[in-house]
């Protein structure tokens, strides 16, 4: 039987304290006592907004908003990466865009995240998958929908999948996700 949690998750937050106990006089004995004090801990906020550029990869995101999935291909060798890549890692040459929206795709690997980073906690459990495409040399990391996160199975690997696109683009790689083809 699975063990039930017997400890509450710790969170920050609490009361603002004005004034902390301190010796009335700073004689030698009192100052020595300070060495035995528990540490003071305060909360500090760190919040920042970045203007992030997708640079040469921008057309990949533009394609998602138009329900197309692009990949990058070396014009000479034909080496194709599912993730956008401005220059091929073997030849160093500038790549060209190809459309892989209709390319047959399968699950290469996956997991179900029951826990995660703060930003994604509200979405747990969610399924991450690496997708392989016919004629494409590398994989694509994506979200997988349409499978039961409570019943993961290795048999999901090899499953044929197809892309689905958000109607309202967020200009993020999650504008595309995959679902079983059936």
């Amino acid at each position: 039987m699975a063990k039930l949690p017997n400890q509450r998750e710790e969170t920050l937050g609490g009361y603002i304290v004005h004034g902390i106990p301190f010796p009335i006089s700073t004689d030698e004995e009192s100052l020595e006592f300070l060495k035995r004090m528990a540490p003071i801990q305060i909360e500090q906020e760190y919040k920042i907004k970045y203007l992030h550029s997708y640079g040469q990869d921008s057309p990949w995101f533009a394609a998602l908003t138009n329900k197309r999935l692009l990949a990058s291909r070396d014009p000479e060798s034909g080496y194709t990466t599912a993730n956008p890549r401005g220059h091929d890692m073997y030849s160093g040459a500038e790549t060209k865009w190809i459309d892989i929206t209709e390319t047959p795709a399968h699950i290469h690997a996956f997991t179900v995240c029951y826990f995660g980073s703060e930003e994604f906690l509200p979405e747990c459990p969610f399924v991450l998958a690496l997708i392989e495409f016919e004629g494409v040399n590398t994989l694509l990391l994506t979200r997988l929908m349409g499978v039961d996160p409570a019943a993961p199975a290795l048999d999901w690997i090899g499953m044929e999948v197809k892309p689905r696109f958000l109607r309202n683009s967020k200009l993020k790689p999650t504008d595309v996700y995959f679902v079983p083809s059936e």
């Binding site: 890692m89 290469h108 997991t111 179900v112 995660g116 980073s117 703060e118 590398t138 990391l141 290795l154």
Partner: protein
Amino acid sequence: MRPVYAISGGVSKFAKARPDKTFQAIIKEAYDYAIKDIGLDFPTFTRIVDGSVASYFSDHFTRQLMAGIMAQDYLGLCPKPGHRVEGGGATGGLCFQEAWKSVASGHMDVCVAYGFETMSHVETWKGNEFIALASDVSFDYPVGGFYSGYYAMMVTRHMKEFGTTVEQMAHVSVKNYINAFHNPYAQKSQRITIQDVRNAPMVAWPLTRLDICVMSDGAAAVILCSEEGLKKLEAAGAKVTRPLVKVTGIGRGTDAMRMADRPHVDYDYFMENYATELEKSSDETRAYYKKLWDHGTRYPGVHSFRAGRAAGNMAWKHAGIKDPLHELDFIELHDAYTSSEIQTYEDLGLCRYGEGGPFAESGKAFLPNIDYGLKLKDKPVCAVNPSGGLIACGHPVGATGLMQGVFAIWQLQGTIKTHFRDDQLQVKDAKRGAIHSHAGTGTYVSVSVLEREG
């Protein structure tokens, strides 16, 4: 390059949180221990040491840029040369090697490598987010940035391709937790079973909480020196343990940040560029690999760490090692996940690709004379993570690779009992060991070989 000796080290107690001290003072615990262990006082060592390398992973965790110089200042090392090294989870291993370079190149005679991380300053889920920012923020992080998820995907592929089981992974956790039971520096001290591992809360299928290392606060320091440096230290009164421990092999490798971008090479390319010397020389192994490739295996894909193989091959060549399993007495291996320890057995050539699972449960990587409560088929051959590794000791990122260095020095000096007040974890007559440091999904990997002289 000239000979480099690893003469001393210190580790702070790794803990979930160390609010009692600032990061500088935690580093000083480890630093002072290393100095005291060679019998010098602080001012004498400060006079002789030529410089330092600082190791910490994340500016986010400290909410402090330039933390390295703050440590340098606190340790009284200004104005001597120093710099910070960062390479994700491999930061500590890279720091060790940078200090080695400083001495081997002749730039310094005595160099101290120190590292730390204080990960308790944020809540666990925020810590996960900071760590996940070490994945591509345009393409990987936004999809659900979570390193346990990334490693879980790698192991589902390993399971599918090679038949690796969750029970085999749990063997790694049981081994490392029970080893750490005898290590007073370890964050976790508990005896666990295979069932405990599987019954622990699921984090990212199939990895449970006991398959995954924890976040920690902690620090470690290692002192490296040349023969000239040793003479200077001993002339000043240092009592350096004999036989000396020498660094005899250095290796590093890298791979694509987005694991999805890693290649899937064919059999011939693998054999020519990545196979170990031992694998290349065996007809049986070549046939074994041919069969794997005929069934669809491609390398490294996401089931293997090409950077780990590159680092291992380079370090073994440097140290003159052909058969690491039988020529090393122990390895302190970066087991951020039980699955990655299994994958790394293969990368380092302790077994063939695809055989990491059976190797994990064979007993070959266990210590003799410790009761693991398991039926193990084989006798111990090369102890992997005799300290308890990251899974049980904790993983204060910038300190971890240096912690491995310290434990390796103590193993080779034969001084585990002195430092642990328990000799259960002392590898008998240890002559040669390796430390392996690994950054997220295998982007940077370092392997260093340490050897007892004489």
